[in-house]
Amino acid sequence: MKAPKSWILEYVDVPDGTTTDELTARLTLTGLKLEAIESAGADISGPLVVGRVLTMEPEPQKNGKTINWCTVDVGDANGTGEPQGIVCGAHNFEPGDLVVTVLPGGVLPGGFEISARKTYGHVSAGMICSARELNLGEDHDGIIVLPEGAGEPGQDARGVLGLDEEVIEFEVNPDRAYALSLRGIAREVAVSVAGASGFADPALRDTPAADDAGYPVRVEDPSGCPVFVARTVSGFDPSAPTPDFIAQRLTASGMRPISLAVDVTNYVMLETGRPIHGYDADKLQGPIVVRRATDGEQLTTLDGTRRTMSVEDLVVTDDSGPIGLGGVMGGESTEISETTTRVLVESAHWDAVSMFRTGRRHKITSEAGKRNERGVDPTICEAAADRVVELLTTYGGATVEPGVTVVGAPPAQPRVSMATDLPARVSGLPIDTDTVVAHLEAVGCGVTVDGATLTATPPPWRPDVTDPHDLVEEVVRLVGYDTIPSVLPPAPGGRGLTRPQQLRRRIGRTLAGAGWVEVVDFPFVGEGDLDALGLEADDPRRTVLRLSNPLSHEAPAMTTTLLPALLRTAGRNVGLGAGSVALFETATVTLPRATEGAPILPVDRRPTDAELDSLLEALPEQPLHLGLVAAGEADPSGWWGEGRPVEWSDAVEAVRQVADALGLELTTRPAALAPWHPGRCAELLLGGTSVGHAGELHPRVCTTFGLPARSVAAEVDLDVLIEHAVHLRQAPTFSTFPAAKEDVALVVDESVAAADVEAALREGAGELLESIRLFDVYRSEQLGEGRKSLAFALRFRAPDRTLTDEDTTSAREAAVALAAERTGASQRA
């Protein structure tokens, strides 16, 4: 809400010398926040003065234009007192007129610098200004001609034009809708600024009594439209100009002057907060009826849009059908035009919820709608209408027609009771009952106190005050939020971070310590992303939760996998010149469930456990995932020699390090799943539970995402890992007897998984086996095509004795025998 300072001070006095900064600082502290202070002339600098045209000589030019060579008296403003010679292209003035002159050295809006320059055969030392050149309006048909007596030649023109006016822009919260008017802002100044006095309510005026002689109006839905006031004027001159003070104030407040009739309704809306609608009364057919629309009923609104209405919309109708979307926007058929001479003024109070719904349904944001949906003082309909009538008669030559239509009455104000000490208990400030009463009365409440209970009747412009805590805020903001002391609450002994919270930190530190860099991506995904991963048509990751209103139609759903964003981010880094990248991300993914949807539960009590369960069960599963991608070198090259390129095992190992940090051991088995290389993808298992996949990316996926060949990735479910993390680790015991080492090399088919051979060896070796480690994989012509040799180092140890050669030999033989049986392994000679 923008408000010219002088307009505010028309209704309230502040102590002499109160600066705009002091005024706005105080208003900000009591809840009307300063957004900006503008001054209309801020982008004009240098000499802008009143001038009197002494002579003007029309000089036709070759290009068909006629320019005027003028001499202008600018007093002493040019330093010489001599008349200033200026070329002017406008013709709407004559010698003797007072004009606005910018002299050399001046700068006009847009950074337009004025200097003496040669043009049309003269040296033109300045410019005679139009309204548009000064950003005062759109009018460029001619220059500004000031009324006689507006100023003396040489005088600064800023004051004359109102360019020195400061306009204060406030941020108005939903609970302060009354401040969407000068009336409300001035009242707020009166309430909160020390020493302010003499508040004059612009909506307080004597209005003629209602009678039956006015335009016939019937309201069929009094809850939707509790008050409807209609007044009519005739003999209005549609060509009458809008007076400067109205045009300037509208412009300063951010509204465009249109025509006197429209401008007057807007002016009164700004002044009182009450939206007004004007109809061309000659276009009305029969009585006005306010009702809910019928389904499918149509109306063309002022903005030229044909709208189909719903049964929830309130419409103003006449015999022709709907003529306005009540309280939101008028209709085209009865719009005031350049031929309108008879105006019906509607000043009606509308149900705020209905206004909000209609505005949202038709996607209309209007100044009227904005006020009506936040709540307007229902008691000032007659005053506002009367004010419009006054302005139309004063400036438009209109005559008031007899008759005042008033249908309905403002609803009674609800009363709110509270304990007198509630403001003190809520704020922590010692606020006594007298202070509570004084502040509530200051904001307009009627207050009675009965013992320890206070009952307040909020003023009609405060529909937001409905609860005891609303009264508390009014009291505390005027006592001053800045007086609230700073006291730490006495929290009980806390339990610290939960186990999953600690483990998530541990996972992040583990990966960062291992050289991975964390990134954060948006969780939005599209069909194209899933295609780029090469997912099969029936891949469950294609079942996504879609958004109704996505920002991008390329990514209209919540992702089921972290990989598309992570691969894209890695590709972008590579594109930016990063030779090697290793990225990780931990975030939840969204896995939809078939559900009925989440109920909207009551709010006047705690939902039952069953209701809560139904709410929570309606939500998709959102497991926490870990995604990893690496490209380029795992270990960098350097003076020490060649680096090591990343390979599938780096992705698996990173996940294993995470598991290890949680005290867990993962096993692997071959898998074929997009977006991985079908021969280089490991499924990671915790016991028998799959937790995710890791390995080398499919070559096509690398190409698609701009990643180097052989880039690797992993994605695992961290919730499963965290759930099974070892909480209380047991202290180990060690044997102090010597260990015995045995190496075995086993030849198997290529297709045999090393993990299976190792598992067989481990099981076959029995209890004496302390550790087993695969230390070499060897292929040769000797072994033959499709065969490989796996070399394992076995370490045996007994808890209670030194092992004999026989012990270890038999354990080794048992291990090899089981491996032979399970995997067809033969011992290499």
């Binding site: 609860d467 939020y481 009980p492 990248v581 559900t595 909207i600 709010v603």
Partner: protein, 367 residues
């Protein structure tokens, strides 16, 4: 050694003469002194102190001497051998020291060579900032509560006194999921976590809720469809706005430095009443020199807009099953990304979400 061998037939043995022993000893010591390196010394040891060395051979013959001569000869040979061994040990020590010194010189490397054989990792600064904030609350005895980002409409709005027709709903541009009649949204705030906490726990409640939230804002230097918030909720007996102020002052001082406090301005949020906007004192200029050009961080205002807060609206307590007659509470919320931006002098938030490794890596593992 058993008793004297009486059956032994003694023969004349010469090397036991004193001169000969001294000669052998001197020859050995000269050779030891002459040994130039450890290898040479090893050879000298074999020749002069080994099993076949003259004195070793002489020593064997001592047993054959008559008892009187035996003692004298034994002493003589023993002393000579002792002297030789001492000389060898001394020489050994000298040569070893020389060797070590030479080796250390030979093994000198250029220690200014680069040593970055391992990739450096890093955690995302927003993760770190969230943890830092969480730690501040945990140190106050609070706990960290969490909830899902895809949330029930009722928990995100209705339970927080934002009914279906509340004008404030238009202040938050919400992502709705399909179909809309399932009433599931991307949470626009972390407040549903507060509702969940009140619904599942009994007071006293002291929790902070950091997390991701979503609004349908176009992505630019100061807006993002996804950002991070931390909210706080306290519900206990006798809680006042003074406790709210105290908690936020403490957070400000911990996060931005000793002496940094907050300022409240009346505002409006459906879930709190009374409500306030919180400004934090500019930690760069401390508001001392409130000159428009003086401070880039606060643009000369001395205060930075930080978040919103207030006393939990009793309607919210009722919907969440807390007795408003017995308990009162406060709640607050602020942007983690925004706090990070002014704490770390970041003017454009987009680097937070674009995954350039140079950005995350710059913050390492702690901030």
């Amino acid at each position: 050694m058993s008793g004297p061998n009486t059956e032994y037939d003694p023969v004349e043995v010469t090397p036991l003469q004193a001169e000969q022993v001294a000669e052998a000893r001197d020859a050995a010591i000269a050779a030891i002194e002459a040994a130039a390196d450890l290898e040479a010394l090893k050879q000298v040891r074999l020749e002069h102190a080994g099993d076949r060395s003259p004195l070793a051979l002489a020593n064997r013959e001592i047993g054959a001497l008559p008892p009187q001569a035996r003692k004298e000869a034994g002493q003589r040979v023993g002393q000579a051998r002792g002297a030789i061994n001492q000389a060898i040990a001394a020489r050994q020590a000298v040569l070893e020291a020389e060797h070590e010194e030479r080796m250390l010189v030979e093994e000198t490397v250029d220690v200014t060579l680069p040593t970055d054989r391992r990739r450096r990792g890093g955690r995302h600064p927003i993760t770190l900032q969230s943890e830092l904030i969480a730690d501040i609350f945990v140190a106050m005895g609070w706990e960290i509560a969490e909830g899902p980002v895809v949330e029930a409409e009722w928990l995100n709005f209705d339970a927080l006194n934002l009914g279906p027709d509340h004008p404030a709903r238009t202040m938050q541009d919400t992502f709705w999921t399909e179909p809309a009649d399932r009433h599931v949204v991307l949470r626009t705030q972390t407040s549903p976590v507060q509702a969940r906490t009140m619904l599942t726990r009994t007071p006293p409640i002291y929790v902070a809720c950091p997390g991701r939230v979503f609004r349908t804002d176009e992505y630019d230097a100061t807006h993002s469809p996804m950002f991070h918030q931390v909210e706080g909720l306290v519900v206990d007996e006798g809680i006042t706005m003074a406790h709210l102020k105290g908690s936020l002052d403490h957070l400000a001082a911990q996060l931005f430095g000793e002496g940094i406090d907050t300022r409240f301005r009346p505002s409006y949020f459906p879930f709190t009443e009374p409500s306030a906007e919180v400004d934090v004192r500019c930690f760069v200029c401390r508001g001392v020199d409130a000159d428009a050009d003086a401070c880039r961080t606060c643009r000369g205002e001395g205060w930075i807009e930080w978040g919103g807060c207030g006393v939990v609206n009793p309607r919210v307590l009722v919907a969440c099953g807390v007795d408003p007659e017995r308990y009162s509470g406060f709640a607050f919320g602020m942007g983690i990304d925004r706090s990070f931006m002014f704490r770390h002098n970041l003017e454009d938030l987009r680097p937070l979400f674009e995954g350039d490794v140079r950005f995350s890596a710059a913050f390492g593992t702690e901030i």
